[in-house]
């Protein structure tokens, strides 16, 4: 391993961002992980201090810092609440990349990211095969969430209630050369996202129904890849860059006014991380990414703000007899992008009786790979969410992020709550279908 001095120099890239933390400690009030463990290394201030320590070359190896840096949901609650405006997420993402590049990725991550995720075609095929065999190792729970749990005791799956892969992923439902439809005025390109494509294709179908209903033109290029966040969160900037290049090339061939996604995490990644973390500054790609980021919007926000502003007034006096729905704010929508009113407007416009839960903007505990490596902590955080949902007596939980949908489905299944989990778009699309019938 190269010497720690070299690593210290690499971390210096972050110095100007690191010095903005004044150690006030306000991040402790909002960090979902700190709430569980009460350990300073688990909260942003502690992690920023550790990175400063790395920069000052006070450690003999990087492993301890690396391990602690990875114990983070990347939910951004700290950044949203930071008096000094420290750009915590960007710092952590870049630091993870610096450390991974210095240490090298683990063999498992190399296989997953470089051999699979980086090649969208291969990834799709592998997932399709997995879908065919999933019945062998998982059994359906027969509950409102439609989750499964492991048939055999497996250390990887533990007692998770996971959602099965869709029988047919969304990209198989559209023409081989992509889906395009003319509209009246605005034209939206849709970035599908892996989870929607492979686990929640109905969200993509709902997006098409809703946009079509409002006369929005659409374009969904074929062969889309992952937005890159799983690789980036593990510090694999190379795979991230390949995926960004791949997706950028696809969308540059399309003409559209707005790029929309129904996945909060994809939107936030495209808007914030594509331009800021992409490394090659000389190629002009950064400018293209900045331009694309400017055109990228959460789909709930696009529909309510740009397409049908009348929806923001809909359902002001809800039918008390209507289905009670509660809404969970995905961190990547509310804290990262400031979108919270629009998905709620869609839920109301769907004729539902929206009832707020306490702590609707508290993280669900998913955090992508955090859930994989720290399932116990992820589940304790998720349990708070499950209890808050159950306390509303809602029969449906709506949320604008498929990753939150997975985590909350697992938590609700565990709590044996008879509550289904839907994207606001699904509720609104169902409502449009029922009223047009």
């Amino acid at each position: 391993m190269a010497n720690m001095n070299e690593l210290a120099n690499l971390v210096k890239e972050l110095e100007e961002q690191l010095v903005t933390c004044i150690r006030c400690g306000m991040c402790q009030s909002v960090c979902p992980l700190f709430e569980q463990t009460r350990k300073e290394a688990d909260v942003a201030r502690g992690k920023l201090a550790l990175l400063t320590g790395l920069m000052d070359n006070i450690f003999s190896d990087p492993d301890g810092v690396n391990e602690r840096l990875n114990r983070c949901l990347l939910c951004g609650s700290c950044a949203a609440n930071c008096p000094s405006g420290v750009n915590v997420l960007e710092i952590f993402i870049k630091a993870r990349a610096i450390l991974a590049e210095y240490k090298g990725l683990s063999p498992a991550k190399q296989l997953i990211f470089k051999k699979m995720l980086a090649n969208p075609g291969t990834f799709d095929t592998l997932v399709a095969w997995a879908g065919k065999f999933q019945g062998l190792f998982a059994k359906p729970d027969d509950n409102a969430q439609g989750t499964s749990c492991a048939r055999l005791v497996s250390p990887l799956l533990a007692d998770r209630h996971f959602l099965p892969l869709a029988k047919t992923p969304f990209h198989k439902e559209i023409p081989k050369d992509g889906f395009r439809k003319k509209g009246k005025k605005l034209k939206a390109a849709i970035f599908t996202g892996c989870l929607i494509d492979k686990v929640f294709p109905n969200v993509a179908r709902s997006a098409i129904k809703v946009l079509d209903h409002h006369g929005v033109g659409m374009s969904i290029p074929a062969g889309q890849g992952c937005c890159g966040i799983p690789a980036l969160a593990s510090g694999d900037r190379e795979t991230f860059t390949r995926l960004v290049d791949h997706n950028l090339a696809l969308f540059r061939q399309e003409r559209f006014d707005v790029l929309v996604t129904a996945c909060a995490t994809c939107t936030s990644t495209i808007k914030k991380l594509w331009p800021s973390v992409y490394k090659d500054a000389s190629s002009g790609v950064k400018e293209q990414l900045t331009e694309l980021a400017g055109k990228t919007m959460d789909i709930n926000q696009f529909i309510v703000d740009n397409v049908a502003p009348e929806l923001s007034e809909a359902g002001a006096t809800p039918d008390q007899a209507a289905e009670v729905v509660t809404y969970h704010d995905p961190c990547h929508l509310k804290k990262s992008l400031g979108v919270s009113a629009q998905p709620r407007a869609l839920v109301r416009a769907a004729g539902c009786n929206l009832k707020e839960m306490s702590g609707s903007d508290k993280c669900c505990g998913m955090g992508g790979s955090f859930n994989v490596y720290h399932y116990d902590l992820s589940a304790s955080i998720g349990q708070i969410k499950q209890e808050n949902i159950a306390a509303t007596s809602a029969t449906t939980l709506a949320t604008g992020c498929p990753a939150c949908m997975m985590q909350i489905s697992d938590m609700l299944a565990k709590g044996k709550a008879n509550i289904r989990v839907r994207h606001p778009l699904e509720l609104y699309a169902e409502h449009l279908e029922n009223t047009n019938r």
Binding site: V19, T20, R23, R45, A49, P83, S84
Partner: protein, 463 residues
Amino acid sequence: MITKAIVDRLKEIVGPENVLTQREDMLTYSYDAAVLDAKMPAAAVMPGNTEEIGDVVTVCHENSIPLTVRGAGTNLSGGTIPENTGLVMLTGRLNKIIEINEADMYAVVQPGVVTATLAAAVEAKGLFYPPDPGSQAVSTLGGNVAENAGGLRGLKYGVTKDYVMGLRFFDARGNYVKTGSRTVKCATGYNITGLMVGSEGTLGVLDEITLKLIPAPAARHSLVAVYDTIDQASETVAAIIAARIVPATLEILDNFTIRAVEDFSKAGLPVEAAALLLIEVDGHPAVVKEEGEKVEALCKKMGAASINVAQTDEERDKIWAARRSALSALAKLKPTLVLEDATVPRSKIPDMVKSLQEIAERYQIDIGTFGHAGDGNLHPTILTDKRNTEEFHRVEAAIEEIFDRALALGGTLSGEHGTGIAKAPFLEKEAGYSSILFSRQLRAALDPKNILNPGKITGVSTD
């Protein structure tokens, strides 16, 4: 020295998962919110109950290990910066509200309960715990007691010391001490409770705190007065006090702070104003109405260019959100922020405000001034970059001059942040040598091995 045998003993006491010794974790307990050099401890423990606290203190006593208790680590005077050979005791697991007694209006809490959590819990019962330090969303009540924390409501409602009825703590030898009572009056023994409040962890380790609660005020009335000169604003403060009116809060923002807040929050503050006063009176609706009118008339008389009265709760919230964002807004301007809290008798506010302007000018540094003008506790906030050593020397010289001016006006070095490490070298200027000596003798008698948060208040660290 914390040997492996001692670490093993600590693990037996609190469980292995609650003892930290890795260098990385030690780094995260080496600092607090004060701009001071960090110091890594040798180990950290998280006890979960009274017995565990006592056993940890005993281990420290038997092995002469320096012990620093840490709550949220938001201290602004370095009170939670440990010794290199020492142990840090974390209060994160001691976060239970043991009792809220509505009939007798008190609460009993463990030291790790967050201030805002208690405030919300008592508010839900129609009661009121007034001390509201700026860090209340994260600060712990144990820390508030140890530092005698203040807040925005000091003027009318006092500070933490006015609400501590009783304490239970371990002394340096690990003996369990009970002080005070759950009664309004208590005249037995020494007033050890009073001695413990603000003792910064140098006299004992808190286990349980009994806090006084009061009925929540029935009505509130908030207003903002805009001034063309800061002198008019500070003279208004003196005039309100002279008129025998005691607002719940009486805060000042100078032009530098107004601009920073407006840049940050776009709240619609008048950026041309030299100063703003934010004032709230509370209490019985009839009194609130009368006092509100008197305050308005006084502001006008002292030359306020305009006055904005909050008509709704939202407008009121907006005023206080602007005030609460002052530190945040200033913090964004430069990498290092030094928040001072030198305090003067409230009638001397106009002189102190003038002094701060002169000091900023003389040392060529940026000072934003805001704070609790009504109780004489201003927060001159110096914006700098610690990496610029030349400028930082000027900052240090300016701070010393702020201390001197405050003392010359009959004030104190610290209204609410405590002595800690930051102000220990200057304490003699304020109190004189005999009172330092008295304090040292007191400490030496109670803590002969000097293990309880050494180096704080009375000076000189052991390493």
